[in-house]
Symmetry: D2
Amino acid sequence: MLLVMNKHATDEQIDSVIARIEEQGYTARPIPGGERVSIGILYNKGPVDGSLFLGMPGVKEAIPVTRPYKLVSREFKPEATIIRIGDIEVGSKHMIIIAGPCAVESETQALTIAKQVQKSGADMFRGGAFKPRTSPYSFQGLGKEGLDILVKVRETTGMPIVTEALDLENFDLVEECADVIQIGTRSMQNFSLLRRAGASKKPILLKRGMAATIEEWLMAAEYILAEGNPQVILCERGVRTFVNHSRNTLDLSAVPVVKNESHLPIIIDPSHAAGRRDQVIPLSRAAVAVEAHGLMVEVHNEPEKALSDGAQSLYPEQFAVLCKQVRSIYNDLLANGQD
Amino acid sequence: MLLVMNKHATDEQIDSVIARIEEQGYTARPIPGGERVSIGILYNKGPVDGSLFLGMPGVKEAIPVTRPYKLVSREFKPEATIIRIGDIEVGSKHMIIIAGPCAVESETQALTIAKQVQKSGADMFRGGAFKPRTSPYSFQGLGKEGLDILVKVRETTGMPIVTEALDLENFDLVEECADVIQIGTRSMQNFSLLRRAGASKKPILLKRGMAATIEEWLMAAEYILAEGNPQVILCERGVRTFVNHSRNTLDLSAVPVVKNESHLPIIIDPSHAAGRRDQVIPLSRAAVAVEAHGLMVEVHNEPEKALSDGAQSLYPEQFAVLCKQVRSIYNDLLANGQD
Amino acid sequence: MLLVMNKHATDEQIDSVIARIEEQGYTARPIPGGERVSIGILYNKGPVDGSLFLGMPGVKEAIPVTRPYKLVSREFKPEATIIRIGDIEVGSKHMIIIAGPCAVESETQALTIAKQVQKSGADMFRGGAFKPRTSPYSFQGLGKEGLDILVKVRETTGMPIVTEALDLENFDLVEECADVIQIGTRSMQNFSLLRRAGASKKPILLKRGMAATIEEWLMAAEYILAEGNPQVILCERGVRTFVNHSRNTLDLSAVPVVKNESHLPIIIDPSHAAGRRDQVIPLSRAAVAVEAHGLMVEVHNEPEKALSDGAQSLYPEQFAVLCKQVRSIYNDLLANGQD
Amino acid sequence: MLLVMNKHATDEQIDSVIARIEEQGYTARPIPGGERVSIGILYNKGPVDGSLFLGMPGVKEAIPVTRPYKLVSREFKPEATIIRIGDIEVGSKHMIIIAGPCAVESETQALTIAKQVQKSGADMFRGGAFKPRTSPYSFQGLGKEGLDILVKVRETTGMPIVTEALDLENFDLVEECADVIQIGTRSMQNFSLLRRAGASKKPILLKRGMAATIEEWLMAAEYILAEGNPQVILCERGVRTFVNHSRNTLDLSAVPVVKNESHLPIIIDPSHAAGRRDQVIPLSRAAVAVEAHGLMVEVHNEPEKALSDGAQSLYPEQFAVLCKQVRSIYNDLLANGQD
């Protein structure tokens, strides 16, 4: 951390800041400049809380220099984390595709879609049993019954299951059924839930919050790793901006940044970013081109009758096209030796 | 809801949309225009889910016309909700001021600050026992011990206590101690927590999510009311934007909008919006001038030693100035007959 | 346009609104609903200004139904616009690559870079002679001398030149030299400049404003077309959001949306979006995958000595890699029959 | 500027960076930390361009420490700038109110509104003769005829005139007529226009760009001061965010920040921020409470017939209420000794 002092900061103010730095067990190094003094904070283990100093007289700014995350950082663990789910490896040379409906609506619906997406090349099946809904009056998911259907989908197709855990109350139930437990956008900073996920033996799919910086997102993952679960898959799903032609704005530069900062795998959810079916295939191709480790896509056999998110769900035929196109780009990238 | 069809939508597509509207039990009214047909959806009780139609062939846009919230809306309940906490009325003619430290750190700290803010005119005391922190390595609050200290503050000063409930696990504990239970920014769409809050008999202070629209915020309140608790105080605390000279951007136009749309009281937290002490007093004056029903402000007797959010905490002397200034503006508004 | 009335709007208020609609020469069609009346405005030629009605008593909302743009819209001209610059076609089956330094610094610099990028497969050369700079103290470009150097680059390499016109004062000079005239991000709503560009016979590269909606961007293009110049290439270059790991957030969903709404070609500038070299290649691949018609990329032979934007400029060797990768993806897309 | 090196940066990389710093005539000061080296750049006159270093091998980040602006900064000129327009002082103890229609539509309209707002206490009259409009098909202002009407308003009422200059072409005309020349939001980074404004002897009202940081805004003002015109009034008018209940989000914390960073006066335009009449009065009160030096408000005698921005224009009776309320709050602030 670098503390920048006011131009007219007094020697006394500078001395107080130095004293306070040393009280914390850090080393203070004043750096006189032409116009003002800055003070470096050195030899801190872990991040320094800027607000400890920002309030002191004479201090103009506290500029963080080191990153606050540790276990998730590539500086801490240089080699990429590969997460194994049955025979599937996430974060390795295979680009994974997770597909399925927004919500599990019935056994017929789930099985129909599962077979269709599997045929097109999906690796895993997604479907919500517990749904976070903006309105208390909207369909909230089938709950336990939905989980049972998901188990049946796995038994029938062999595909691993990704489904969301919304709260501590139902975490155990979800954990028992799911192969990968999703922590949704709205829960990214539900710290109790993150700690519970950290105590699980199952891989966690951690979606980025709608207005989260990458630093906040990695710190959410840090909660999970700090509790002992190293299996975190990050999922970018669009951020909230002034843009109104898509539901959210897909932040694809997050992929190279996350891959540089962290060893964790990162996948993309184009469906929630777009909010409209006609943007999903182009954004999926872009996600592969930017070298995400995978995709999670919403597919519905009858999107116009879907109980939630119908407008963004692909028809199974469209999903088949998507798979073909993205696998082709991915093979092209591999052949050209990227990553 | 208004469905706008593509310019070249076929009669068959229009008929399918009409059929689907009527399947849902609504009335469809086609509106031919010069260039394209639109179809109004009428006689729906409650909001219509646009995505039911947005995916159908020929449909260009689904434009919501009615609001999705009901119990929180002023159209449903025209008179303002007034919430009583002991002798204090929130939403009535008295502008309430809630003050205290970000986190309860010790009995001495809490009692010292409580006496200071009470002397300056605070109505209620705030202090976190369970703290949501971006980093797992930051101070997470004193937990149960913090609650005990808060109870002692109430016993000593008579001030009602506002403190946050982070999760279902500790909700009962918090509910027992608090006079007002805070649902924090990061929990605004923690729907299980909202439902639990709806089952409580205590008033709920519901902070706006960092990137929430007013509609989403009011829908979060709707969850609480729908479970039977009508005592919700809304709290605007800044939204996330590209602006970087304050931690968040205080959205003061939310106050007239919320007061127009809803009967619930709304207060302002300038401390978290600003993130820096020197903006807190001006923003507090602005909050009163825009006719919020109250303020929630962070105050610390030694902000430079605070375990969290020191940079935005006022010194007690500054808080005294704040109270004097905002009470004066408020009286001026009353004298001029507003609201 | 649909006018939504308040729940308790009086018949008199409704009649006034209808009268005002008809005064404008439009047709009013009241649509009674269960709770409130809406009034459709029909048979308007061109967009209706909602603020004509939004201020009237009893009017709650004015919801635009038709788009405000005409000449740029695909509904007006269904076939794609192809722009010819010498032998090059923009908007057709060839993906164009424009490359060069942020600013022309010297003849040696420009020629060196031009030869390098041409060798790697660039179609056109870009370089600023007049530079818009945030600071009055930064290098403002070589001006007329820079244009002369650009002409020499064209004479030497045969590559067409893209360079920015900043104001009316220097437009003639730029027009004389350039093959494509760029209107920069900060000038997207410089309406005098747009009109002047509309009077030119040269193709215009119109960058999206940093906080412009697609509608505003297409309206800026409409200014150019309305003055008689149909040759507009749109260029997405990132929008301003809360995200801070890239300079701006590249909005790739703009590509399918623009291609759906408009017949104009659209290219991507990944360099200004990223602001950092290490994101430029991944974002370029993504831009091609989303089927933009081309790329504009900053390249510098000695980025660490560049007079502007060095941090985002690729080394010539990196640009060679970029060309190879994006051409490969593009060919893959063509082979799979997209677009 | 502080350059943060990668954890594993080599000595050679560090030496290259130091060499490059010294080539620029600055002083380099390496600061070894526990994990990585940082290098301070000292004794630079004026801001350092981070991109000079950000591209070099081993450099992770370039963190600006000093501000890029000089002439506009309070460190450069500690005392507040007061701008005199006839008898009126902007930036002094009197809070100024500028009012009038969005556009001058006719002599009758302008004179009617001018007399009404003067009676309520407006200090200056505003009205557009040249209007920046998103659509080429919207009313673009009366041009020269509008300026003549504004001159007549001044002659009749004695009120100074504020009107916008859109481009170099019409600047002379506007300059001749106006008492204060407005540079609009969309022109904030029209650098040629800023330079021309800097050559004027008339005060300039510089609106903040819709997505401009305060630093960019002050740099725009720096262009004007650098050309020799010290008379700049800054005007905050809302920034573009995800929020959709107001047209823009009024950023009131800009007021204390600008007053701290700069000696220039700052006023608020609540009308363009709100975009809706019913938010204008509350936001005006907030603007005064936050201690802006003044307000600029749109007023129209027949807003429902206005040729532009009718929805946000106050009725004259509402403006009278606004003046009364804000003057009262302002007097209250003065009596309490602020500022």
